[in-house]
């Protein structure tokens, strides 16, 4: 298992969406590959279990990673390439749309944005957006120059999106009220995409764990 392998895997899973290396025991570990490939004359024999393939129903090609040597869990340089920029864009759109909606939607004769309870919640949404954007900028700045901080930044955003971002999405729907759960507004669609991103390539807990492992030694 080498660097190129994980690069190809994340690239394909991200852009083509017809490939992923999930095995039932793997959770989000890219290198947890127990499936084996053994030579049998001129043929290869694959043995193992594969899990979910996102968008597999529309695939015209399925790539099945398997080991020809080593054992499950062996790894040599993991690159995580999550959908962080996409997620940061989504939370900002959700925040903007919610603020706009609260200025127009009237209840008890006034815009609901005039209620302090909702104002505080939307300020929290703004703070989450600013934090996410700052981490994204840090991630971009460290990506080329600093391998360790680059990995930390990627996991830090993924954790923030999986916690604060998820709450932001739930609040966006709550403040939109019943309209927020309809397919008529794109808020519901953005929220579904955000929820999917929270799971892809490791959820918040997974990346908090990775951050702890990557903490600078004192």
């Amino acid at each position: 298992m080498d660097f190129a392998y994980t690069e190809i895997q994340t690239m394909l899973a991200d852009s083509v969406g017809k490939f992923i290396n999930n095995e039932p025991q793997a959770r989000y570990a890219l290198t947890s590959v127990a499936t084996t490939a053994d030579r049998d004359g001129d043929a290869w024999v694959l043995n193992g279990n594969k899990g979910l393939v996102p968008n597999g129903g529309s695939a015209d090609l399925v790539i099945v990673p398997a080991r020809t040597s080593g054992k499950s869990g062996d790894e040599n340089g993991i690159t995580l390439f999550a959908l962080n920029a996409h997620a940061v864009g989504i939370v900002q759109v959700l925040k903007d749309k919610t603020v706009e909606y609260s200025k127009n939607r009237k209840q008890f004769g006034v815009p609901i944005g005039s209620f302090q309870e909702l104002q505080h919640r939307m300020v929290d949404m703004l703070m989450a957006c600013e934090q996410a954007q700052s981490l994204l900028m840090w991630s971009a700045m460290t990506r080329a120059a600093d391998g360790d901080n680059s990995k930390r930044a990627v996991s830090a955003i993924k954790y923030l999106i999986g916690t604060e971002g998820k709450k932001l999405g739930e609040d966006a729907i709550q403040i939109h009220g019943g309209m927020g759960v309809t397919w008529d507004l794109d808020v519901a669609h953005f929220f579904k995409r955000l929820t999917t991103i929270c799971t892809l390539f490791g959820n918040a807990d997974w990346h908090l764990d990775k951050l702890a492992d990557m903490a600078p030694q004192t």
């Binding site: 992923i20 999930n22 959770r27 989000y28 899990g51 979910l52 996102p54 209620f115 309870e117 909702l118 739930e170 729907i173 709550q174 009220g177 019943g178 927020g180 759960v181 929220f191 579904k192 929820t195 999917t196 799971t199 892809l200 959820n203 807990d205």
Partner: protein, 56 residues
């Protein structure tokens, strides 16, 4: 959804995708956004409790 991981992602999938309730977790999660909104949102319920229970 957190426990199910990737198996939570297919929408309303059946046993051909995963075992048990895990493949229904996304459906349940999205569907239950509604319960804090309908029949008087959480915010309205809190207003009522503040007024009639706490006497504020």
């Amino acid at each position: 959804m957190e426990a199910a991981g990737y198996y939570a992602l297919p929408y309303n999938a059946g046993p051909e995708v995963g075992e048990g309730a895990e493949t229904q977790s996304a459906l349940a999660y999205f569907n239950h956004r509604k319960v804090t909104i309908f029949a008087g949102s959480n915010e309205i319920q809190k207003n009522i409790i503040a007024k009639h229970v706490l006497g504020l």
